[in-house]
Amino acid sequence: MSKPNDLVQGTLDLLILKILALQPLHGWAISRRLKTISDHVLQVSEGSLYPALHKLEQEGWITAEWKQTENNRRAKFYSVTRLGRKQLERESASWHLLSSAITRVVRLSEA
């Protein structure tokens, strides 16, 4: 299984927060959502999702709750807290800054 590249690893927090900001989900659903949205470009190892989730939870950015799934199974649903939304704003802002900077650099070299 190929490791996710460093850029993605560093922004995994941002991706999770963004996905959860749309709706509370459990770990499995998050990993599926990640794959579909990114068109299978972003490959996050199935296992490494959980340490990241636990880290976000310990930071107080997301909070977890055990609920029933549509198939009537118990699963741990995560949702974003108020602190998490602020963090998401901060991270997306810095992501925009970074990506637009990189885009400019890349275009510069093309010209």
Binding site: S45, E46, S48, P51, H54
Partner: protein
């Protein structure tokens, strides 16, 4: 923002600590759910269940590792690990109960035996003043050529108070002196202790009376106008049964009615270490309590009897205060050359005051601290030795853990937790031992009716010190074994259960421990022997008189000032009481003194110029301690006159002035010549000439360890003093003359109280037996503890080392070694170690002995007895420790020994 963060995270942290297993279960479930979905997905894609499962596991990229990573994300990992370690440690300690008990007991003794002397050191050196912000309170002293710790006169105090800007306030207090106390007029006065203080004393110190008020500024302005008193908390509680209505009432002090205006709080027992004043009275009332009628306290700039303290203003440095005071002292010197020539002034912190170089308290404090730390050191090496021995039996366990992937630092943490646990148990038990030791110290009492306190007690700071000591010792004795046992070769460790790896490095640590233990305990023994001998030798020279006097002399003190006697009437009373006592049945002799040798008060000092003796260039007068006595004193006290004569009745107020000096004085100023007939001038060169008529034997005046000092006696008739003590020498026991004496006093004046009657034995016991007894006991107990610990540790280490060589011994015997060969082999090693330790111990002990001799005693010389006892004892123990297991080892069959683990 912060608060919100904690709102989310604190419950999570608490959950991770207290609901650990539940959280782990949830983690399992969560990941299992994910795994199940993966498998379902794979099966839906057409894989067999087994293949689907394998693919799913691969996709998880190491299920268990991911779980571990997730656990690591919880910030409480260190704590939960620590709790695991504690649980594991207590289990493993329970598995070796003997060893654990021994280590705990060793540490308990070490820490407990340390806390008692440390409390003494603390009281003598470190304990802060019992006031708010004690750190700002500094002491101001007058400095002269002979001493830089002199007191100030009342005038000087006013100058300092009014002309300095560095302080929030400057206070003055007199000495702790006896006050005659009675509830109302006509009642017989009793003696209690009190203190003259400046009107701002309580307000500047920040001490709020628990009842009533402190002094107003105007109550300390006009001499004699405001008889007001603030009571000490102990007096109020015990003497007045905490009567709250006392404020506003009057009590009689030295024959004057004083209005009680307040009661000092429980938290303020006074500013001195050893005494607790019962009364605080404004300085303006000083004439009522003045010891000398000849001097004018309020005007005389030479009457220096006030302790001056100041509270430094915020932001003023000590150096600024010093500069300011030094400038003021220079002004005083030019304004008042007759009293302040060559005088400076100094500001010091409490710590600097207590650690002044010539202070006995400081020396004792340091010596006790050093000795107690040495005991602790022995205890720690002991514990370290035992753990080291244990650690090597765990080589295999540690190797297995390392092989299974435990980090070295994690293992060291685990092993340290074990020693931490031991240290905590030891520290806890040590506090108990310390309590008991302090109890014993408290038993000894000072023979006086004055409220004197022994300052030893267990307080929070001492407990904290014990805790720190325990933790420090845990690291000290736990680190070495932990480092050593985790360093070993894995393969070797796994192969053999209990094998000493080749190489000397391992043994080296243990050998150092044995040597350290032997030398430290020898040093302690030397010190304790020396102190015991020093105190004992104090009972020799200069104490002959006291050995007789203790069984025959009764002392009775009088203070006719309590009844407002004038000087002439006081003189007449003393003459009569001494005369009549001499004629009473059963009385051999009687004499008067201000303060008997070994008495509880200090002697007055006098300055003088001996005639015909060249003065050193840098000084104008010499100083000597002195006593005022009558003609019967030398007989009654039993101090022989070796040349010339004693005082006579004819040495009256109008006769030529005479003095008697001691032998030390005579040899000091006129070595080899006869001092009788020579003259000294009191105060200054032009002062009153006094002829020396006799030389008395030099005795110990203040305590039995004192070095010989100059001493001068002046006759009472020529130097009237109001507070005197009558010494009555009885043919039989001293108490047989008590009733006759009471009758005589009643006949002279039925109202005059005997303020204090006791036998000389009480003084003797205090000076020579009880007081030093505490120190002797303490030091002896420490020495014995150290020796015991060292012997036990030594035995343990040597015996353990030998028993580990059982296999080797078996092999040696199998290939032909004889039993004596084996015993020689194991003994040799131990004896070499003890010999090295002894040599180091001898050097250290000798150094310590020199130091203590120069600081405390003039005993001198090396104590051979110590070494005659201690060195053979050490060797004997080593032999025994090696012999018993060696014998056992040599007895077992070689075939058994070879299988021995």
């Amino acid at each position: 923002m912060r608060a919100e963060h904690w709102w989310y995270t604190v419950p999570l942290r608490l959950r991770s600590i207290f609901l650990r297993s539940r959280i782990d279960r949830e983690l399992d479930e969560e990941m299992q759910f994910h795994l199940d979905r993966l498998i379902e997905e794979a099966i839906a894609e057409g894989l067999s269940p087994q293949e689907a499962r394998n693919a799913a596991m691969r996709a998880m990229d190491g299920l268990e590792q991911r779980k571990e990573e997730a656990r690591d994300m919880r910030r409480t990992r260190w704590l939960t690990d620590f709790l695991d370690d504690v649980r594991y440690a207590s289990r493993s300690l329970r598995r070796a109960p003997g060893l654990s008990f021994f280590v705990v007991a060793t540490l308990a003794l070490g820490i407990g035996m340390t806390s008692a002397p440390l409390s003494m050191t603390d009281a003598l050196i470190f304990r802060p003043y019992p006031v708010p912000h004690p750190g700002n309170v500094v002491t101001l002293t007058s400095t002269s050529r002979s001493s830089s710790f002199e007191l100030f006169s009342y005038r000087e105090y006013l100058d300092i108070r009014d002309h300095t800007k560095s302080y929030d306030g400057v206070i003055a207090s007199g000495d702790f002196v006896p006050f005659g106390y009675s509830v109302r007029a006509g009642e017989v006065a009793r003696v209690r202790g009190g203190m003259l203080v400046s009107g701002n004393y309580f307000s500047v110190l920040g001490v709020r009376p628990q009842l009533g008020r402190g002094f107003r500024a105007d109550e300390d302005q006009v001499p004699g106008r405001n008889p007001v008193v603030v009571l000490g908390p102990d007096f109020w509680k015990h003497e007045l049964a905490s009567d709250a209505s006392i404020v506003g009432k009057t009590i009689r002090l030295n024959g004057v009615d004083f209005a009680v205006i307040g009661v000092a709080p429980e938290s303020f027992p006074g500013m001195q270490i050893f005494v607790r004043p019962d009364f605080y009275v404004p300085l303006a009332m000083a004439r009522r309590f003045s010891t000398s009628a000849n001097q004018d306290f309020f005007e005389d700039r030479n009457d220096r009897g006030l302790i001056v303290r100041g509270r430094l203003k915020r932001g003023v440095t000590l150096q600024q205060a010093r500069n300011e005071l030094a400038a003021l002292a220079r002004d005083l010197e030019s304004e008042h050359p007759e009293s302040n020539r060559n005088r400076g002034a100094m500001v010091r912190t409490q710590f600097q005051m207590r650690t002044r170089a010539d202070e006995t308290n400081w020396k004792f404090g340091v010596i006790f601290a050093v000795l107690s730390l040495a005991v602790l050191l022995v205890a720690c090496t002991n514990a370290a030795g035992l753990l080291l021995a244990r650690a090597s039996t765990r080589t295999r366990e540690v190797a297995v853990r390392l092989a299974l992937g435990a980090g070295r630092s994690r293992l060291i943490r685990m092993l340290l937790t074990e020693s931490l646990l031991l240290a905590c148990l030891g520290g806890l038990a040590g506090v108990g031992v310390g309590f008991v030791a302090l109890r014993i110290l408290h038993r000894f009492s000072i023979p006086t009716t004055l409220p004197v306190q022994i300052p030893f007690h267990m307080d929070a700071r001492l407990l904290l010190a014990s805790l720190v000591l325990s933790l420090a010792s845990a690291i000290a004795f736990g680190l070495a074994p932990a480092l050593q046992s985790t360093r070993g070769n894995l393969v070797e460790g796994l192969k053999a259960a209990d094998v000493e790896p080749p190489g000397r490095k391992r043994l080296w640590g243990r050998n150092v421990l044995v040597v350290a233990q032997v030398s430290a305990s020898l040093m302690l023994l030397t010190a304790s022997f020396l102190m015991v001998r020093g105190f004992r030798s104090g009972l020799g020279e200069g104490m002959e008189f006291a050995k007789v006097a203790k069984d025959h002399v009764l002392m009775a003190s009088f203070d006719p000032r309590l009844l407002q006697y004038d000087a002439a009437r006081t003189q007449r009373f003393y003459q009569q009481v001494a005369e009549r006592t001499r004629q009473a049945p059963g009385v051999q002799s009687a004499g008067l003194t201000q303060n008997p040798p070994l008495g509880l008060e200090d002697f007055e000092a006098m300055s003088f110029v001996p005639e015909g003796v060249p003065m050193p260039a840098d000084r104008e007068t010499f100083n000597s301690a002195m006593d005022t006595v009558d003609e019967g004193f030398f007989d009654a006290m039993g101090i022989p006159i070796v040349r010339g004569r004693a005082f006579r009745r004819s040495d009256g107020p109008d006769a030529p002035r005479v003095a008697i000096v001691n032998e030390h004085f005579a040899n000091h100023f006129w070595p080899g010549a006869d001092p009788v007939g020579r003259r000294i001038h009191l105060d200054r060169r032009v002062g009153t000439p006094v002829e020396i008529v006799g030389v008395a034997r030099t005795v110990r005046y203040r305590d039995n360890n004192e070095k010989s000092v100059d001493f001068v006696y002046l006759p009472l008739a020529q130097r009237p003093v109001s507070r005197m003590t009558l010494l009555v020498r009885a043919a039989a026991g001293p108490l047989t003359v008590l009733e006759p004496l009471k009758d005589i006093v009643r006949a002279l004046d039925p109202n005059l109280p005997i303020v204090d009657a006791r036998t000389y034995l009480t003084l003797y016991r205090y000076a020579a037996v009880d007081g030093p007894g505490v120190a002797i006991n303490l030091v002896a107990i420490m020495g014995a503890t150290a020796l015991l610990l060292a012997i036990a540790g030594l035995y343990g280490l040597v015996a353990y080392n030998v028993s580990r060589r059982t296999r080797e011994i078996g092999i040696r015997m199998a290939i032909g070694a004889s039993r004596p060969d084996v015993i020689r082999l194991v003994l040799g090693k131990g004896l070499v170690l003890v010999a090295v330790g002894t040599a180091i111990g001898l050097v250290l002990g000798f150094a310590l002995e020199q130091l203590m001799n120069s600081m405390l005693f003039n005993a001198g010389g090396v104590d051979v007895l110590v070494y005659l006892v201690a060195v053979p004892a050490m060797f004997l123990v080593t032999m025994l420790a090696a012999y018993v297991p060696a014998l056992r080892a040599s007895r077992i069959e070689p075939t058994q020994a070879l299988r021995y683990e």
